[in-house]
């Protein structure tokens, strides 16, 4: 991959990392990704998976839903988590689950076993960061796909197309969060509750696809940004990031395979 961006005026051009469809990962790439998640799960400090999972719900509750910050906040979230995983295994990126075309949870996330051991992408422990567990809290992730009554299941091709037809950010954001909500509720279990969803590694494959949708739509609608009055707003992450900093994925160092990208030339 030769896509590059120049992250700072005097820095050497950096190679963008590519987030790939989970179904296109090589065996080695998938194994590396699992290893990164496993290693991050073993860390009980601010480098650890559970710390990042806690941003979304228990115990920090920083996520943004059902408003204009939905897409920027989750883009920032994935950015910080991906860096943490790359600190564990250099080069890994967050794969995406294309629920607009795929009808079920990808086998990489549903097979009970992988690499001769329990598949961490299928079920992960929940250890809330720096917090004593309370009675009733889940101790591991769970799913119950299709069990929620009357919730349409994937593929969400029509919902995806409807979102892509939007000609402004507000409509696009609302339509995409609708499909996003439906998938969460369809998967069910801990994925179906805001407060616990991000402990499931599947969460990040889902949101990588949400973020990819935004990237594709942005490419088709240059300049169609979130409302001007929120561009300077700080998103609650650690560290914080402004909405304006989330608008260009190439400046965050990644790209999605299969989408367009404009990069500096050689001159």
């Amino acid at each position: 991959m030769t896509i590059t961006a120049r992250p700072a005026p005097n820095a050497a051009p950096a190679r963008l990392k590519v987030r790939k469809n989970i179904d296109s990962l090589s065996a080695q790439e998938l194994s590396d990704f699992r290893r990164a998640v496993n290693q991050a799960l073993d860390l009980n400090d601010k480098r650890g998976f559970d710390y990042f999972a806690g941003w979304h719900g228990v115990p920090f509750g920083w996520c943004q839903h059902h408003d204009a910050l939905f897409l920027p906040w989750h883009r920032a979230y994935l950015y910080w988590l991906e860096l943490a995983l790359q600190s564990e295994v250099p080069g890994v990126t967050l794969p995406w689950w294309d629920w607009s075309t795929v009808a079920s949870i990808p086998s990489a996330y549903s097979s009970a076993q992988a690499d001769g051991t329990a598949n961490v992408l299928a079920k992960a422990p929940i250890k809330v960061f720096n917090t004593a567990p309370k009675p009733g809290w889940p101790t591991e992730t769970s799913r119950a796909p299709g069990d929620a009554p009357q919730v349409p299941g994937p593929p969400y091709q029509k919902e995806w197309a409807y979102a892509m037809q939007a000609d402004n950010y507000t409509d696009f954001n609302q339509r995409l969060w609708g499909a996003h909500d439906t998938l969460h509720v369809w998967v069910g279990g801990t994925m179906g509750q805001v407060d616990w969803a991000a402990y499931d590694p599947l969460f990040f494959a889902h949101h990588a696809n949400v973020d990819r949708a935004w990237r594709i739509w942005q490419t088709a609608h240059p300049g169609a940004n979130p409302p001007a009055d929120i561009l300077g707003e700080s998103l609650q992450t650690d560290p914080a990031m402004k909405v304006s900093q989330t608008l260009d994925v190439t400046q965050l160092g990644y790209e999605y395979a299969g989408t367009q990208s404009t990069v500096p030339g050689s001159a």
Binding site: Q150, D181, Q193
Partner: protein, 144 residues
């Protein structure tokens, strides 16, 4: 399943608008996640009603909600600002507005229908009969 039926909402003549939205204002999301299926002028719609244009099905909205409160007493109470300089971000459980575009299903009604009654069937995993969907008001918005 919870059924909710609206009072009549006025519909302007078809020639006067290009897009129509139903806006559910002040939707609460502090309980179980849920889905709501919406019908127009079909107050008898129930679980078994086909979700088809013939039954005036208008679409669905799903709400990814927070679930049970996991904190200490008061954790899920939405606080008021303690001072004019309170810059803390909004509480995560503040209600939101959910929009369902109904341009096509509303257009399919006879022109001059004058008004619609909205029926919502709301479902969550607990299969409640009440309290699944809680919101302040419903507005029909048309855009020319």
């Amino acid at each position: 399943m919870q059924r909710w039926t609206s009072q009549a909402l006025a519909v302007p003549p078809r020639a006067g608008w290009q897009r129509a939205d139903l806006e559910f204002e002040g939707v609460e999301h502090d309980g179980a996640s849920f889905v709501m299926h919406v019908f127009l002028n079909n107050p008898g719609a129930d679980e078994a009603t086909p979700r088809t244009p013939e039954q005036r099905y208008a679409g669905y909205l799903t709400v990814f909600a927070h679930g049970d409160c996991w904190g200490d007493v008061g954790h899920c109470d939405i606080p008021q600002p303690v001072s004019a300089f309170d810059r803390r971000p909004p509480h995560p459980l503040i209600s939101f507005n959910a929009t369902l575009e109904i341009t096509e299903p509303l257009s399919a009604l006879p022109d001059g229908v004058g008004e619609i009654i909205v029926t919502v069937l709301a479902f969550n995993k607990d299969d409640d009969e009440a309290g699944v969907l809680r919101f302040k008001q419903l507005t029909l918005l048309t855009y020319s």
